[in-house]
């Protein structure tokens, strides 16, 4: 029986051989050094090209690599970044930025105002086909250029000299400075782009102007950054190297964190949340973010078009406390307004019914339901669509039960693949109630309120209120921040009165952060620039 022994030993010998051979390709042992930050991205960044990138994961990496005129501090405060200072003309239409002295690219060449102009033109250029082309549509001629009606040179962006940049906007825009923190407005080096074309994002060609430079990139796996010694604030960047690991599976992130392979996770899955409180009480960070989870009504079709009483009844019958405490249960805040708390210079008004108890709300909902022409013998039959996922399904099931208990509504749950749902919402033909969410771009109320204006791209319900649109337009025309605030708050009151959406809860960010990471602060945008972090050695 020699044969058998041979057969059994062979695979192991082979495995050992291959392992030995492939370990020859081992690159370096620097992964062990304490100044190496390992953080997780929950999906593969689609691009490191500031103007072409789409996903939030790309933005997370690009915020480490590049820098715009303005940026955010660790606590989420808007701060000067590549711009040292700026002035705004009396009429609010002309912004003049002065760049910091001695700004350099990671190849040592100077960063000039011309490079910012180049990037902004590239962003709005229809040939770039940038996803975020309309990020700066308030800049003079930007929209016309993107539509292909004007040459890119006509963009209201001009470099007066190497350090002075002028941007002209078409109307006073109080949030303009926030817009300039977005990675799509980050400069790119025209010479590098010209030299390498589409390959300029390859690690050997990539040139950045932020705290880090691109060291290497294993597609779909890990992006390694090294400190950029030419960065103006390099002296205050503590961590020498950062690795952004792509970990698509949420539970794998947790396992890798537990195995000590990650210092920061991107999220904590619902299934593990309770256990995380026990396993890592001091490492679990939960904080409110600027994002709302909502159900939208299709305002263009029966039964919800022209039926505010019915919409209000469904909104009131949802016990949001139950929802956040029993169903989502990760510290979310129940939503009684559209704009989440935490935006600057704004106090969200709440639903008129928010000071009632749930019992009182239910009674009122029942009378509204009858008023809308429905009853036990003639119940509302409605379809609720959501993109298939465990959390969405559980929330939809709970809401369905509440509607059924309080009003007797017969709800059919329809889980759809994400892009199928998006198409159905966009067409607005067969959808009745749908699940969606909105994440704010900056800490100003208009990032939430603007999307519900008539005809706005992100107005998914088809809500078409002249009164609301007028208030939003009025707010946009104000240069006085106090007056603007009053218009915006009034607009939200109108929005809440009309019940085109049922805000259910405000999201929270959930992260595990190793005790060896210092300097991470909660902030509503959930941005955590690596340059603000530092590492301590906790091994001993």
């Amino acid at each position: 029986m020699k044969l058998n022994r041979y057969f059994l030993a062979a695979p192991f010998a082979l495995l050992v051989l291959v392992l030995a051979l492939s370990s020859c390709e081992q690159r370096d042992a620097a992964e062990e050094t304490p100044s190496f930050l390992n953080r997780a991205l929950n999906s593969d960044p689609d691009s490191l090209d500031p103007q072409r990138a789409r996903s939030t994961q790309s933005a997370d990496v690009i915020r480490d690599l590049g820098e715009g005129l303005l940026g955010y501090a660790a606590d989420g405060e808007l701060v000067a970044a590549s711009a040292e200072s700026w002035t705004v003309s009396e009429d609010g239409l002309l912004y003049t930025f002065t760049l910091r002295d001695g700004l350099r690219w990671s190849n040592g060449e100077p960063v000039t105002a011309e490079h910012f102009v180049f990037a902004l033109r590239r962003l709005v250029n229809p040939e770039t086909a940038a996803f975020y082309a309309e990020q700066i549509s308030v800049v003079v001629n930007a929209a016309a250029i993107t539509a292909g009606d004007m040459p890119v040179e006509s963009l209201g962006a001009e470099a007066l000299d190497a350090r002075t940049l002028q941007l002209r906007v078409e109307q006073p825009t109080p949030v303009f400075l926030y817009l300039l923190t977005h990675p799509s407005t980050f400069p790119v080096n025209p010479e590098v782009l010209q030299q390498h074309g589409d390959d300029f994002t390859d690690p050997e060609n990539y040139v950045s102007n932020g705290a880090y430079r691109l060291e290497s990139r294993e597609i779909g796996s890990v992006i390694t950054l090294t400190r950029n010694k030419y960065y103006w604030n390099a002296a205050n960047v503590a961590i020498e190297r950062v690795r952004h690991h792509v970990v698509a599976d949420e539970m794998s992130e947790i396992n890798r964190y537990r195995a000590g392979e990650l210092d920061m996770t991107s999220t904590v899955p619902t299934a593990y949340f309770e256990q995380a409180k026990i396993d890592f009480p001091d490492e679990l960070r939960v904080a409110p973010t600027l994002a709302v989870y909502y159900y939208g009504f299709n305002m263009t079709q029966p039964p919800f078009a022209d039926n505010p009483a019915l919409r209000q009844a469904l909104s009131m019958a949802v016990d949001r406390d139950q929802l956040v405490n029993k169903v989502t249960a990760r510290g979310e805040l129940p939503a009684y307004s559209w704009v989440p708390p935490g935006v600057d210079n704004y106090t969200p008004p709440e639903f008129a019914y928010s000071n009632l108890t749930q019992e009182e709300r239910n009674e009122m909902a029942q009378s509204l339901y009858r008023q809308a022409g429905y009853s036990e013998s003639n119940p509302l039959r409605v379809e609720l669509r959501y993109n298939t996922s465990d959390v969405h399904r559980r929330i939809a099931t709970a809401v369905t039960a509440m509607w059924s208990d309080v009003l007797g509504v017969e709800t059919q749950l329809i889980g759809e693949e994400f892009r199928v749902l998006l198409q159905n919402i966009r067409e607005g033909e067969i959808t009745q109630v749908f699940r969606s969410s909105w994440t704010g771009d900056y800490t100003d109320a208009v990032t939430f309120l603007g999307i519900m204006a008539p005809g706005a791209t992100w107005n998914l319900t088809g809500y078409d209120s002249e009164e609301y649109g007028e208030l939003i337009a009025q707010a946009a025309a104000q240069t006085d921040m106090q007056a603007r605030r009053l218009y915006l708050e009034e607009a939200e009151r109108v929005l809440l009165r009309d019940h085109s959406v049922v805000p259910l809860y405000f999201y929270v960010s959930k992260q595990l952060v190793s005790p060896r990471v210092l300097g991470r602060e909660d902030n509503p945008l959930n941005y955590h620039y690596s340059q603000y972090l530092s590492l301590v050695d906790t091994e001993e």
């Binding site: 029986m1 495995l15 693949e417 892009r419 199928v420 909105w438």
Partner: protein, 307 residues
């Protein structure tokens, strides 16, 4: 043999064309488009994107353009991943899939077949039962259960191997994905080879060999093993396909940057070019794998050669 091979390759051309045409239409027929997102783009931006990716041309023009590019080996730009072309994405991720898939198949083949032979040589003994029970559990427990358990034990608790691909650049990162992928295959090979060898050992020519006084070891080595391997070889074709395309779960759990992940994400993102590129690539690969299997089959079995 050469004529046979050439004939098979020529015969594969219509198959590949059909695969291209079908997937080209099917991927576009899926509801939702590549530029749909919770953060929808405006009509102007969508128009620019469609122009950029040649989606504004008529469907048959798009198809002819695409086919022309594919014939030159160019799968086009990915709709989602702006930094790499589809060819670059496949070229970058396939070696990883091949390494893991190939190693796990090899491991499965060697362990599975030896276990199967061991069991077949002692039919209905304790050894046989043990091997077959293990094999049965290997088939029954799905990868998405085995893999996390391996991670918990060997990565989180024992810290022998990394839990994720990118945590190290040495070969230890290969072990858990390879083992997870190999386990169910080991079971298949074990059952197949046991059944096959028992079958062969009961056939007439073995009885003849025994009657001629050959030793048992010699009979098994020289007469029984080769014909017993036939079903294994025919299973290799589908096994290669399973291991190469079916490693998505393992890639996901261990964050392995393989083709499988791009296939799934491509489909979910409606990244038409990426999905098409991978489908065509796999179609060709599987056709070639099947051809190789058939060639080996002809070499093993003289009866097939004559036809």
């Amino acid at each position: 043999m050469l004529r046979y091979t050439l004939g098979r390759l020529l015969g594969a051309i219509p198959t590949v064309l059909l695969v291209i045409a079908l997937s080209f239409v099917l991927v576009r027929a899926a509801p939702g488009g590549p530029f749909d997102a919770e953060r929808a783009v405006s009509d102007v931006v969508e128009k620019n994107l469609r122009a950029h990716f040649n989606l504004d041309a008529a469907l048959h023009v798009q198809f002819v353009d695409y086919l022309g590019n594919v014939l030159q080996g160019d799968f086009g730009p990915s709709f989602r991943y702006a930094d790499q072309t589809v060819s670059e994405l496949i070229a970058g991720s396939f070696p990883t899939t091949l390494l893991i898939g190939g190693m796990s198949l090899l491991l499965a083949l060697l362990i599975g077949v030896s276990a199967g032979i061991t069991a077949a040589l002692r039919p209905n003994t304790l050894t046989d039962r043990l091997v077959m029970t293990l094999a049965m559990s290997g088939i029954s427990i799905p990868v998405f259960v085995i893999a996390p358990v391996l991670v918990l034990v060997f990565a989180v608790k024992l810290n022998w191997f990394p839990a994720g691909w990118s945590s190290t650049s040495d070969a230890s990162r290969l072990v858990l994905p390879i083992v997870s992928l190999a386990l169910p295959q080991i079971a298949y090979f074990a059952r197949l080879s046991r059944a096959s060898l028992i079958d062969v050992l009961n056939s007439d020519f073995i009885r003849t060999a025994r009657a001629q006084g050959l030793s048992r070891a010699s009979i098994i080595r020289h007469h029984a093993l080769k014909p017993a391997m036939l079903p294994i070889v025919s299973y290799l074709g589908p096994a290669v396909a399973t291991v190469l395309a079916g490693s998505v779960v393992v890639e996901e759990i261990f964050s392995v940057p393989g083709v499988g992940q791009y296939f799934i994400r491509g489909a979910l993102n409606r990244d038409y070019t990426l999905v098409l590129g991978i489908v065509i690539f796999y179609a060709v690969l599987i056709i070639v794998a099947n051809l190789i299997v058939d060639l080996v089959y002809r070499w093993l079995d003289p009866r097939i050669r004559q036809h």
